[in-house]
Symmetry: C2
Subunit: 283 residues, 2 copies
């Protein structure tokens, strides 16, 4: 990035699998604070715009967890696609927070909060849907017409809800152990009440199982879920499976024997996910 660039501040850039893993900071208008994100550009980006796979992270994560622990760059380099790792919430001194690890900073749940004290800053839906893409496609060699999305846990929830509601934007969607049915789970009801209020009608746009049952998805879907996941009951994979079955949704819902909720699980299947997206994005 040019040092003259006032929009983006480059925090780091490292050569990685022949491409560049960068971390950048910018002033976010919709979140009302500085936001940090990471972009991996594969070697192919030196020749021109490349497809892009969004990776949304889970509770407590920043841009950094998947960037350092998921091993995605190896496969993205080979497939010639870029990776974007956004943060999971607004952050900082003046930003609302909660003592619970699964509410407030690090737990934005990819919604635009309407309730106090969250409403002024917790606008992760608009951040991921509007503000960050506008910045990315202006500043990086990314092909706006070739976007896929994936994520882990709360980020799997984000990936599925974004794709299901924006089918014209995303060509492909997958998820690792997503929070699949938040409006019926303790990983969801508390947060959706806090961010969106007690009226559950406002929640249905942010529940992958409800959206899947209502709308389906235009192409195949890939979901991986570990059978040894310590949060299995909170994730409610069964609700999403039922929705896919009811909808006759094409795709694969894979139960991976023994795997837990950690990045050792995510890394183990990252190749499959990157190649799944690359096939759709390069088509």
């Amino acid at each position: 990035m040019s040092p003259e660039n006032k929009i983006l501040e480059t925090l780091s850039e490292n050569t990685c699998f022949g491409g560049v893993q960068g971390v950048y900071r910018h002033a976010s208008a919709v979140c009302g604070c500085d936001m940090t994100f990471a972009v991996y550009l594969p070697p192919a980006a030196q020749e021109g715009p490349v497809p892009v796979l969004w990776y949304l992270s889970g509770l407590t994560c920043t841009h950094e967890n998947a960037m350092t622990k998921a091993g995605a760059q190896a496969w993205a380099a080979a497939a010639g696609i870029a990776l974007v790792f956004p943060d999971t919430s607004p952050r900082g001194e003046g930003i609302a927070d909660d003592d619970a690890f699964d509410l407030g900073q690090g737990a934005g749940f990819y919604v635009d909060a309407t309730e106090p004290p969250w409403a002024p800053n917790f606008s992760m839906w608009s951040y991921i849907v509007e503000e960050l893409p506008e910045l990315l496609f202006a500043e990086f060699p990314l092909a706006e017409g070739a976007q896929g999305i994936t994520g882990h846990s709360m980020g799997g929830h984000g990936a599925l809800t974004l794709a299901l509601r924006l089918p014209d934007r995303f060509r492909s969607v997958s998820a690792f152990a997503p929070i699949a049915n938040p409006s019926a789970s303790d990983w969801g009801r508390r947060q959706l009440t806090a961010y969106l209020g007690a009226d559950e009608a406002a929640w249905s746009d942010h529940d992958a199982s409800l959206l899947m049952r209502d709308r389906g998805w235009k192409g195949p879907v890939l979901i991986d879920q570990g059978t040894g996941d310590q949060f299995y009951d909170l994730l409610r994979p069964g609700a999403l499976m039922e929705a896919m079955a009811a909808r006759r949704q094409g795709g694969s819902f894979r139960f991976q024997p023994g795997y837990d909720h950690s990045y050792f699980f995510v890394a183990s299947f990252m190749r499959d996910h990157v190649e799944f997206h690359a096939e759709a994005l390069w088509a």
Copy 2:
């Protein structure tokens, strides 16, 4: 591990690429404190003992850095070899330390200290050469006759010095950006003086360039060094190259354009290293 096992305490075990990434703690006699290490067992270990690749880490690292950031499990699973990630020094309240990040805890330099205050606990040479192997080959399905060794930075120094001095034990050796000539570098002279005393004669057994020039290595060697490494001058790769040239040592010394000293560099070439070792270990 069995809960009855009093020698090893299991801190965590995660399914990873079809195998198991475990973290264990034991009471170390030579270090005089509890020591933590990680072992990755590939799926092939379910059938019987597998070859093992030791990975020695660099300054400030524990067993955890390479375990989570190097992406090595993917390739080890495919190659059917185990990985061992030891810690880099003794640790804890009663253990000597220094304010500098490159001396004391996290900076054992793979030597047996003879000088105060380090001598009572800083015995990483004996720990890696004697105590930890004895434990590992008793407790895990590892083939003692098929060992390779690699490492990063200070761990590259450790890998090279161990292999050069124990050629009958290790079948293969490689390194990522090793501290290649510590007796002529600020990454070495200070630490070797502190641990071994001012008499430089005691240092020569812990300098890969001197050992290489003196003894050579029985097989091919693989070294990767980033040209953008921020510690290039401290690492002294040229000294090791000269020693290899003088010795007519077989192997590859690869300068990787643009790569720095980070795990983004290590991960980018981990596949090559694991496959290099696997070829020797399965031969």
